[in-house]
Amino acid sequence: MGAFQVKKGFDVPLEGEAPRTLRDLPASPFAAFNTDEFAFTKWRLLVQEGDKVQVGTPLASAKHDENILVVSPVAGSVHQIVRGDRRKLLSVVLKNDGSGDAVDFGAWDMAKIGSAGRDALVAHIQKGGLWPLLKQRPFGKLADPAKAPKALFVNGMETAPLGADQEFLLADRADEFSLGLQALLEIVPTVHLCVRQGCTLGALSQAQGVNIHTFAGPHPAGLPGTHINMISPINKGETVWTITAYQVSLIGEFLKTGKVPERQIVAIAGSAAKERGYFRATRGAQISNLVGSALPENVRAIAGTPLFGTAKGSDECIGMRDASLCLIPESTERHYLMSDEHWAGAGFRSFSTWRLFASALCCRAKKWALDTALHGGRRAIIQQDVYERFSPLDVPLTTLVKAIPSGDIERLEQLGLYELEPEDVALCTFACPSKVDVAEEIRKGLALLEKEA
């Protein structure tokens, strides 16, 4: 019910946005459940290599709550179980036989959602393996159904460069979205739905029973961290849940059909992508399936966006929460003194948010095919106010980042660390001239805080 104008931030003008066309991809021969997608969660494996699975067969349950399940998005068999150090579960790779053989969980309509009661609804969504789509702050953990959150933030917008447009993802899914939203309203009474200012998609702008807020301005205007901080910041001891509008529609689809969604829409974008657009792909599909071939040399595939995402190899699989796959060129060239891109060059071809390059005068408006160059060496923080310049959050970021190595938990809490997730400060990492990975620092700080909590 608020209209928020975000002033601090920046839209990195990346080339290679996905055109708004929706096509089908052939089913992925492999799919996987990756544990790195779910921070701070340990899993108990429920299948073994070679086991037959259906769409909806449980693969693993959370160690802290055995009711939280991850289920197979494909029918076939368990191809491989990948473990890391100390036998930590990294991923469960599934071989897709293409039959689409699915477990039937039974369809739920509006009436049943309204009458079933919270616990039954939670149990139903958990059985369908869709509960892990909900994220809980602080820390970005799995949502804890036993502890009622202050509010649920449904994100109906995207401002990250090359990110998947939530409004386009929802275009034909109004029913699924409203069914999912009703179900979540039964579970969490207070729901904030955050949409783009000027959003005309009825499913979002006329959603019932929720508080609708509009946001305008540059990235990170579309991040849940920004929404929470501006609408109802997290206080110590409180929790909030977040989910994207498209993920709500996946829950809705599960309720409507009684079957775990086999497919999800993925936006494929980036200057190094040959075929760009929105694709209906297997959930947890392999990167080579999404790209259509093995990754070309010197291209980085990123599940998420180039500003915040996970680098993936050809054989790896996209995450269940990811809505986009971006392909950008790896940095391969070193630029010499006297060339335009060298640090002492004029900088017509160097992209910067700072007005220290010729590109600031002439080329701000164009789209850039940025590569993965670090553009400099790691230094101590010199410009002490950069992070505040690029973050709309009411958190003293520079002080916080400097305080993290101290390990003083109480101080870190006072400074508001628990309000953040790494994604919220990705732009600060991007802009920092000292090449400090602020997002990584915040991740470390959160790990420290979580361990003590």
């Binding site: 993965t372 060496g377 505040e388 006072q414 508001g416 990705a426």
Partner: protein
Amino acid sequence: MKNPLEIFGKLFDGLEEKSKGKKVMAATVDAFDTFLRTPKTRTSGSVHLRDALDSKRMMSTVILALAPVALFSIWNTGFQKLSALQNVPGALKSGCALLGTEPTFLNCVLHGLWQFIPIMAVTYAVGLGIEFVVAAVRGHEVNEGFLVSGMLIPLTLPPDIPLWMVAVGTAFGVVFGKEVFGGTGMNFLNPALTTRAFIFFSYPGAISGDTVWKAVDATKDAVVDGFSGATPLAIAAATPAGQSPVAALEQAGFTLKSMFLGVMPGSMGETSVLLCLVGAAILIATGVASARIMVSAAAGVLVTGGLLNLFAGDASPAYWHLPAYWHLVMGGFAFGAVFMATDPVSAAATGVGKIVYGFMIGLLVVVIRVLNPAFPEGTMLAILLMNVFAPLIDHFVVQANVRRRLRRAQ
């Protein structure tokens, strides 16, 4: 091959190979390698893109902003020296006697370079030497911070400063102003000002704010009467009560205009307010330095000077009557406020903190100049003192944020 420098690439590739595992060599090779060409490091972690700006370019931009001041100071140093000797033929007997003594543009520049280059060379040799050694010992990359400090230090010194003092002062400033705290970014004092303060207090005879220097070596050159005059600050401070300091200054040849343009003796870089403003424009336009600090420092001077004007009676010292805006063009204030106070590492970092920090610098400059009989110039001391207080100011601003967070929870 597009760029002729690429032949050096192979050389560095080889050197890098050889320096693997050798900390001392690796830091030095890396410093020259990344000077020659952009580093080959790629992003890792969750953020896959980076801004093209690095600390090398940031520091170079500050040097670019300093260039007008430095170039002018070279000419001005030569000009002041030659004008002082104009009427004394044969007075110039030191090594630069080979250069022409007519105060033409070229001669002024040559004489200026004669004074400036050795000081700058000693500063960079000592400072960068320490940086390389420290980087090698600590095993990190060589910081670029000293590129700016090395340019600032000569500009804050009188042209006739003995070079050994420059060396000792620079070493002190870099080691105790910076490296002991962990290098550029970790220091709380501005290293260039630390250097100047060290020389100021250790060798007060060679550098202090009450007489001016004109790069004439009195022992080697024939002694010229009257070549070392009083600075505007000393004149204003010495004006007897009841007389007008403005009149006294103007009588000595210091008008608002002349001090604004800066064709006058003084520490090398501080004389021209006009060119400091050009530097300020570059720093603000590129976003490297904070306009808040500069503006609030000027405001601090005007408010404090204005208050003194307001309370000045017939019996109060004449200095109290000096119109506040004169302080802006006198002494090293403009240079200090633009290039020293805005050093992002030692200045306050928070938005409100910057305003308080800048204002307090302006206030202290006037207080030290007018109310403190011991020091004619207050800019250096004001900035260093506020460098010390900047973390405290930021602490209060951050605590306000913390209190807001705690109150919200109740």
